[in-house]
Amino acid sequence: MTEGPRARRLSTWLALAILPLIIYGVLYALPIYDLVRSSFNTFDPLKGTSSAFQTGFYRDFLTDPFYLGVLWRTVRISVTVTMICALGGFPMAYFLARSESGMRSFLLIVLLIPLVTSPVVVAYGWLVLLGTQGIVNDLLIAAGIIDMPVKLVFREFTLVLGLVYVSAAFMVLATAASLKNLDWNLVLAARSLGATGSRAFWLIVVPASLPGLTNGCLIVFSLSMSAYAVPALIAGPQVKVMSELIYQQGMALLNWPFAACMSVILVAATTGVLAVSDLFARLRQLRVAKRSRSGDRNA
């Protein structure tokens, strides 16, 4: 294409971008600005919200053991879900990357079902399966593990299971994308040079999967931190997470400033945990690089 003058390029760009910019400016950027701004407002149960600039809600949240407990639970559950997805999803990603094309299409469709089905329906499905009359209890009784139906729903591990279900596929897809790029000849070469299967796996396959695995962890962690429908339906009132608190404050108690404040804290906490883990990963990389350099010198 011919490179037009700068001004003409800018005007064509603007012609393309103006509509999205306006729509996203009004419908998205404005609400986000309002959200952050209103978290500094004051709220009175009788008089409602009034405009102000105070940090009282942040102080309330960060000094109240109940709220901090909910935040900690949300982080803890999300970390657990991320680790389960990373470990449990890895063989699936490996299989997907190595399987034949026809098989792969089928696997991909099954994998996409949890991603595209409404989380409400997914949560309902688990309620039916895990209920006291559900098939899981029946199977456990038939296997002789338990004598009587046990309460499986409304517990923390039910929530972990539900969140793993809705986000595992992201981890598998991201990891498989990395593994597909791996030149399998490297593995064959390592094997022919006498490396055992597990050695070739740890030294070649696992490092090759790391970019995708990291991406997957990032997606799964953020999704778990912010999930709403699944926790609200299968975790029960005892296992509250941040998203439910936000809904409760905003819709049941109509305390919009506090809901806005908790929204900001939730986003900040998610970003914070991801930033810290990124920092650790970088430090480790640095150490590994240093070690391999000193290894070169020794050789």
């Binding site: 390029r9 299989f95 190595r98 469709i109 089905t117 409400v120 329906v121 709403y228 339906l233």
Partner: protein
């Protein structure tokens, strides 16, 4: 490469183990969806899986509930509208970002891609606050606007990968043969990347159709989308078989869109580009 699958890392035992694991994973991924759809055929007055007896009565009774039909049509309409608009927006943004290297693109990208990274509850609550001030708060228009914002990033990401994969030399050839930029776009570029627009539309449709977290804030007592109706009902009567029938209608629409779009586009292409 495929014939070499046999030369994988472990021995026969670990291969059997891998297969057992893969089958278990498939069962895990299908379990809740199967429980809902098959469970809705039960003749009992409460939901049970596997079902006792087979009947379609819960589906036929659904037709006597106009509010459920209304919610279904509302969800369908909003998903169709939001998905179609999101493909148009996603195409505009992709063309601007992929074809022009301007600093301003960072702003555009941040604006359009970041909703995907924010919690839907936070978005839903933010929309409620601002749309109320804008006078959009309690109408179908507000619901549509909220859905448009949350689904466009998905359409955009897929369409941008589609556009990046178009071979520029084909466009150059069309241009050098005298086609105008618009003609080149319509006759060369768009047909080549059509799969990504279709995939983007389908994903946007499905995200909107299944959403509860944003809708729950923007619904009014009269305007209730289907997932929110199920969500609310689940809190009071989770074991009503009627509810599984409604839910499995949702599942069926999802599966039809998923399988139909998967047969049009090679799904693997999405995996290849997910880097």
């Amino acid at each position: 490469m495929h014939s070499r699958t046999a030369e994988s890392l472990g021995g026969r035992f670990s291969k059997v183990l891998l297969w057992v694991y893969v089958v278990a994973m498939q069962v895990f991924f299908l379990a809740p969806v199967v429980a809902i759809t098959v469970g809705s055929l039960t003749t009992t007055q409460y939901v049970v899986f596997p079902p006792k007896g087979l009947t379609l009565q819960w589906y036929s009774r659904m037709l006597d509930r106009p509010e459920i039909i209304y919610s279904f049509l509302l969800s369908l309409g909003i998903a169709l509208g939001a998905a179609t608009a999101s493909v148009l927006l996603g195409l505009l943004v992709s063309l601007a970002i992929v074809r022009y290297s301007l600093r301003l693109n960072t702003i555009l990208w941040l604006l359009v891609a970041s909703p995907m990274m924010l919690p839907t509850v936070v978005l839903g609550f933010g929309f409620l606050q601002t749309y109320t001030h804008l006078g959009l708060g309690t109408s179908i228009l507000g619901l549509l606007a909220g859905h448009l914002v949350i689904v466009t990033p998905y359409a955009f990401v897929l369409i941008a990968t589609g556009l990046r994969s178009v071979d520029r030399s084909l466009e150059d050839a069309a241009r050098s043969l005298g086609a105008s930029p618009m003609r080149t776009l319509g006759l060369v570029t768009l047909p080549i990347m059509f799969w990504s627009m279709l995939a983007g539309w389908a994903l946007a449709f499905l995200v909107s159709f299944g959403d509860a977290a944003v809708s729950v804030f923007l619904n009014t007592p009269q305007v209730v989308t289907l997932p929110v109706r199920i969500f609310d009902a689940l809190k009071y009567s989770p074991l009503n078989p009627q509810l599984t029938a409604v839910s499995s209608v949702l599942v069926l629409v999802t599966l039809v869109v998923l399988v139909a779009s998967a047969s049009f586009i090679r799904l693997e292409r999405i995996m290849d580009r997910m880097r």
